[in-house]
């Protein structure tokens, strides 16, 4: 069964460094998402992406964040200058949206630790 994959599974970085989190969505999906989950808290929406542009973004997704689909298969999330509070699990998701309903398939996540 097709699945969303994410790399790396774990990333440790120093505050102020740039990180790039990578995702390979399910191949026939057209909509891509990033979510994050701080330890013990809710899964929170960051950004959605369709047709090579951002569809929607949350208040969390500020100028330090960017997304890209560089080559038709990968979908990346870049954090330009990491802060301690960026430490979280980051989940990529993809979907093939039908009218009136939505099922998103999530990857296993990247655990980011900012020191």
């Amino acid at each position: 069964e097709p699945e969303v994959t994410q790399t790396p599974s774990h990333q440790v970085t120093q505050m102020g460094q740039e990180v790039i989190l990578r995702c390979v969505p399910i191949s026939n999906h057209l909509y891509f998402y990033w979510y994050r989950q701080i330890l013990g808290q809710k899964v929170e929406f960051l950004v959605s992406f369709y047709n090579n542009e951002i569809s929607e973004k949350s208040e969390i997704f500020d100028d330090q964040f960017s997304v890209e689909r560089p080559d038709g298969s990968n979908f990346t999330l870049k954090i330009r200058s990491t802060k301690l509070e960026d430490s979280a699990m980051y989940f990529c998701a993809s979907s093939h949206r039908d009218w009136y309903q939505e099922t998103q398939y999530f990857g296993p996540g990247t655990r980011l630790l900012v020191l």
């Binding site: 998402y33 899964v43 099922t103 296993p108």
Partner: protein, 116 residues
């Protein structure tokens, strides 16, 4: 303000019993609501989606109900097994009255423990 709440942080039940989890929302009128399972350190796994015009949906031992008047969804696992132990999340699309915006708003989840 808009809220989605899962009333129990944790639920402990005996194997073979039915687990019932609750999801309430305020100031949304979602076209559908979804339930996901999340194991520790893993991503959410989709279980069921129920639309606003559906009262109930079933999948094997799982059953979901959706009451748009009460603004509540109930998630049931019948004949529960230790392997059902996980955190169960409800989620909705905040775009009201049909259509789909795509981004999901999640509840905090209910951690279910099924004891043998």
């Amino acid at each position: 303000s808009q809220k989605i709440e899962q009333n129990s942080e944790a639920l402990n039940i005996q194997e073979g019993k039915t687990a019932t989890l609750t999801c309430n929302y305020t100031n949304y009128s979602p076209a559908y609501l979804q339930w996901y399972r999340q194991d520790p350190g893993r991503g959410p796994v989709f279980l069921l989606l129920i639309r606003e015009n559906e009262k109930e949906k079933r999948k094997e031992r799982l059953k979901v109900t959706f009451d748009t008047t009460l603004k509540q969804s109930l998630f049931h696992i019948t004949a529960s097994q230790p392997a059902d132990s996980a955190t169960y999340l409800c989620a909705l699309d905040p775009l009201n009255y049909g259509g789909s915006q795509g981004n999901l708003i999640f509840g905090k989840g209910t951690k279910l423990s099924v004891k043998p």
